[in-house]
Symmetry: C2
Subunit: 366 residues, 2 copies
């Protein structure tokens, strides 16, 4: 049986890497007591809390954390009619936090995720490992059998082309979970007692051309490199599906990373996932997705972007057109989603102006 | 520091899986004392020893092992003029053992590889893990973030398409090495003291379309599914390169597995690799390969096989033509290699007749 770390107060204080360049985004509907266990690792950072559901409820944040909190009223006020692209009553609303951040890096974590222990019993500073992952290159063009060649004690093995050893910038670091694995409802129902106790001491690049199921529970990315692709779609209240928000973002992100020559890593760090969500509720949210993904995945596997798509925004708009054209036939939901993808990019660009126009509009939110 | 297992006599006797369906192929130039440590795991199996170099030398095999041994004279006698496709004075000669085997599975291991220990200190039965890898399916079409979904305690994660959960047959299981990592000469020279001490408790499928550096030190495969692609090329005596035998086999094998819908797994099991080869000697063997691989790898990445290529043999002959056409320009060596690829297939088919003709010629070697 795996257990979470229960005393992180004694964890060695580390120099907080990228302290002024990274925001932690947390979607929540409850008080954030889980932050107590993360205090030694998260306290130096700024938090962006996106309150899901009833905006009249007060979310308590433990003392000492530096944070800004947005509820639905704030989202509506800031985005106006464009707020329609942000999901309501679903943790997919977290992507609003990505949009309002002014930092280069985002780490996002769920509020039922605790500090895990490595096999030696040491509390794992998940954020530090994500930062290591994202600050070292990725190797999407050829597989290295000793995994991430940039980790201490590892390198490129015999037969690895020297021209590829510089790697490419890493846009995404996807972390894993001990205890409750991230299973779909059918697997939860079939294996209610399965726990992930296997600590795999590896980080690896997901090869170019290969899609993966990106989970939003324990995820870090570079906003400058890939931020506008990290849209978590239309889920929850008023939508026909849930629990595909991170999957959607992962498929879009991977296709765009492959097109732009950026890397996606998965593996370490682990967090301790404390509580399985209700499989019956999940099944209701997922069942259309389970059916649709059989068409969505081949769509993304076959998707190609034109040479003109030189920015994430251009890639994303191009992808939204293909979604409308090809997935619109599967269900009218995808028409709506394709429109929301465009709205998302418009909202992103409004809140994140670049170049000359940036000076004029920057700070509008302050 | 990692250490090999020094007392495997106490290792629990296991039921030898696939005892009558697997041969262990060992290329060697010395007495096979290393087998003592492997006795509890290898003794139930049949060994095929391919003696590299001077055929007048006698190779001692520890008592109790069931084996057949082939030296250069035997190879010449059995293959006649086709023996030209088998390398001399190079461990690439091991592929002769693949050809003469009559079993479904091959495990091949180098004679400087000892029994490794897992993190709990237990001696690792590498062969047993390979068999587990190869008897369970592979998942080349979509990445599973919890690695091999068929291992105990693991499964497919949320977002993994259900239509892909049956997987495809596994053709190759590529194992890794603790202690001396499999580095090329330049890396050996730069990092003479680096040792691999990281035990990564994972097996994973190398995705479709992704090449990898296949090492022949600790390798298992299904002869029926992929055997004829496991040609280790022309290396060593009289050839301009060495140490690319397994790489060549790996590139060809992966392209053909991708074409035929077969899987390649890498990761567990580990063996303990005891001794780094001389980096100066290695550099001499490798330097052309280091240069050539910059053209060879893009060639294999772009290689496609026609629909008519429905057997490994047909795929391999088709690949040999492409090698001649595209890599012949790089160096005349590849012309010679392309011819040897054809000779290899002819020799393979002669020793491994199938169908109606099999009855007539089978047992010719006995």
């Amino acid at each position: 049986m795996v257990e979470p770390a229960t005393d992180t107060k004694t964890a060695t204080k580390v120099v907080p890497l990228l302290k002024d360049e990274l925001d932690i985004v947390i979607p929540t509907i409850r008080n954030l007591d889980f932050l107590e266990m993360w205090r030694p690792f998260f306290e130096p950072y700024h938090l962006i809390i996106v309150q899901d559901g009833d905006p009249s409820k007060t979310i308590k944040v433990p003392e000492g954390f530096d944070y800004e909190l947005y509820n639905r009223n704030d989202i509506n006020k800031i985005l106006g009619p464009k707020a329609s692209c942000i999901s309501f009553k679903d943790s997919a609303c977290r992507c609003f936090g990505y949009m309002v951040s002014k930092k280069k890096y985002i780490f996002t974590i769920d509020d039922d995720c605790f500090v895990a222990k490595d096999p030696s019993g040491k509390a794992i500073n998940a954020l530090e490992q994500h930062i290591k992952n994202i600050l070292s290159p990725s190797t999407p063009f050829f597989f290295n059998t000793l995994y991430d060649p940039y980790r201490d004690g590892a390198d490129f093995v015999r037969g690895y082309p020297f021209s590829l050893r510089e790697g490419v910038p890493t846009a995404v670091s996807h972390g894993l979970w001990l205890n409750i694995p991230d299973y779909d409802a059918p697997t939860q129902l079939v294996k209610p007692l399965e726990r992930n106790t296997r600590y795999v001491d590896a980080v690896l690049t997901i090869p170019k051309g290969t899609l993966f199921p990106m989970c939003g529970m324990n995820l870090c990315f570079d906003r400058d490199l890939i931020g506008p692709a990290m849209y978590f779609g239309l889920m929850g209240d008023g939508q026909p599906i849930g629990r595909y928000d991170d999957m959607w973002a992962g498929w879009c992100t991977k296709v765009i990373c492959d097109h732009l020559g950026l890397g996606v890593k998965t593996g370490l760090p682990y967090i301790y996932h404390s509580k399985a969500s209700n499989p019956f509720v999940n099944l209701k949210k997922e069942y259309k997705g389970i059916f649709w993904q059989e068409e969505i995945i081949p769509f993304f596997q076959a998707a190609t972007l034109s040479k003109d798509c030189t920015t994430v925004q251009k890639c994303y708009i191009e992808l939204s057109k293909q979604v409308k054209e090809k997935l619109g036939k599967v269900d009218p939901y995808f028409d709506k989603l394709a429109d929301a993808m465009v709205t998302w990019i418009e909202a992103w660009d409004e809140l994140n102006p670049t170049g000359a126009s940036a000076k004029a509009t920057n700070g509008k939110l302050k």
